[in-house]
């Protein structure tokens, strides 16, 4: 096996081969993702604690969320995960044009998710369901502001991840255009893809816990 001869110039000198560099990058991304999961688990812990403490408030407050919009957003995010997976696949099959189209489909779906989220937020702000001390809604008995505090913290941090993800996806698209990302050197799009799926994962849990608690 003539590994030396096949060694591409983008493989760092401390790696034995391209495969080793790719698997190291992949493991690094996974460690970051696990850290992200632990980070979000804190929010889920807060949700579980306070739901345990205020069960009735929780059921009443969750009525205020629009489950139709939540379901639509879930479908939007799942679809964007599909297009992301297909984009990674297309890059590996060296169909870069198609990958670009799938990337931009992912970006558009992410943007749609944010727009729907923004409408939801606007409606809640209008009704006075503001986070923290600004909470001024009297439609929920008891500790409604705790529920909405957790709602805004969880969905807000999730939306922040979506926004960062959109930026990263645009960057990936730019790298493909510059030919810095190819079917051989695909780890960047794969890792950004992993990040995007993680954002989807978090929403898979947030959606039923916030919108469908009845």
């Amino acid at each position: 096996m003539s590994e030396r001869a096949e060694r591409p110039e983008w493989v760092e000198h401390w790696f034995e081969s391209a495969e080793q560099q790719l698997s190291a990058a992949s493991l690094g991304m996974w460690l970051f993702l696990v850290q992200e999961i632990l980070f979000f688990s804190g929010l889920f812990m807060a949700y579980i604690c306070y739901r345990w403490m205020y069960p009735r408030t929780w059921l009443e407050a969750a009525e205020q969320l629009d489950w139709v919009l939540g379901t639509v957003n879930t479908a939007v995010l799942l679809t964007s995960s599909l297009t992301m997976a297909l984009a990674v696949r297309s890059v590996r099959m060296n169909e870069l044009k198609r990958a670009q189209a799938e990337l931009w489909a992912t970006i558009s779906l992410g943007a749609v998710f944010l727009v729907i989220k923004a409408f939801e937020y606007a409606h809640k702000f209008h009704e006075g369901m503001l986070p923290g001390p600004a909470y001024a809604f009297d439609g929920v008995e008891g500790m409604g502001k705790v529920f909405f505090g957790i709602y805004f913290a969880a969905t807000g941090l999730h939306a922040l991840h979506v926004i960062i993800g959109l930026g990263l996806l645009a960057w990936v698209s730019h790298r493909i255009r510059k030919k810095l990302l190819t079917s051989e050197r695909y780890v960047l799009i794969e890792n950004i893809g992993l990040y995007w799926h993680l954002v989807d994962l978090v929403w898979i849990f947030l959606f039923p816990m916030l919108y469908l608690v009845k």
Partner: protein, 200 residues
């Protein structure tokens, strides 16, 4: 009776705490070391294209084998998932989303509804991790990392709920409700609303 309960809780928590403090570093490190050694050894051997030592084959066996044919460099091609599988998984995910929504509308008891929701969400998450994130056919180290993360989340949830869910132990129901009402009337957040007095 109350003292007995408190004692049981204290002993239980101490035991759990000690178990985690004593067992985790030793057992966890040993397991991690063994796993890492095996995975790294296998992985490196795979990358180098030589059989790993842990395969434990006799020299005669090795000699009897025909000389390894130069592997074609298309081995990244057969790792690529067919489009049909992605679309299939996606359709299952959409159907499961419909299932969660439907289950939440059939009027289950909230406690059962939560369990159903978490079960469906876990199935969905597993599908995403296994197929979209390629963990199923991927190398071992990311699996180990994810498993470790999930394990510590369970530790985190268990210990926290062991505290939160037992805070009202020892309070009689009437006293408890009175205490809650007084705190709420005073505009405070009562510390430890823990007894679920109503099932509604």
């Amino acid at each position: 009776m109350d003292i007995l309960l408190i004692a049981v809780v204290l002993i239980g928590l101490t035991a759990v705490g000690l178990a985690f403090i004593v067992l985790l570093p030793t057992v966890g490190q040993t397991l991690a070391a063994v796993f890492t050694a095996i995975v790294a050894e296998k992985g490196l051997a795979h990358i180098r294209g030589v059989p790993s030592d842990s395969d434990q084959r006799s020299p005669a066996e090795v000699l009897a084998e025909p000389a390894p044919v130069e592997e074609e460099h298309d081995d990244h091609d057969h790792h690529i998932t067919p489009i049909g599988l992605y679309v299939g998984i996606y359709l299952v995910l959409i159907v499961l989303t419909g299932v969660t929504v439907a289950v939440s509308k059939i009027g289950l008891h909230p406690q059962d509804a939560v369990i159903a929701a978490v079960v469906v969400a876990t199935i969905k998450a597993t599908l995403v991790v296994a197929y979209f994130m390629h963990l199923k056919d991927g190398p071992g180290m990311p699996k180990l990392a994810l498993a470790t993360g999930i394990f510590f989340i369970l530790v985190f949830f268990t210990l926290t709920m062991a505290d939160v869910s037992t805070r009202a132990w020892g309070l009689e129901e009437a006293d408890f409700n009175e205490y809650i009402d007084a705190e709420v009337d005073a505009g405070r957040t009562p510390a430890g609303w823990t007894r679920r007095t109503s099932k509604d």
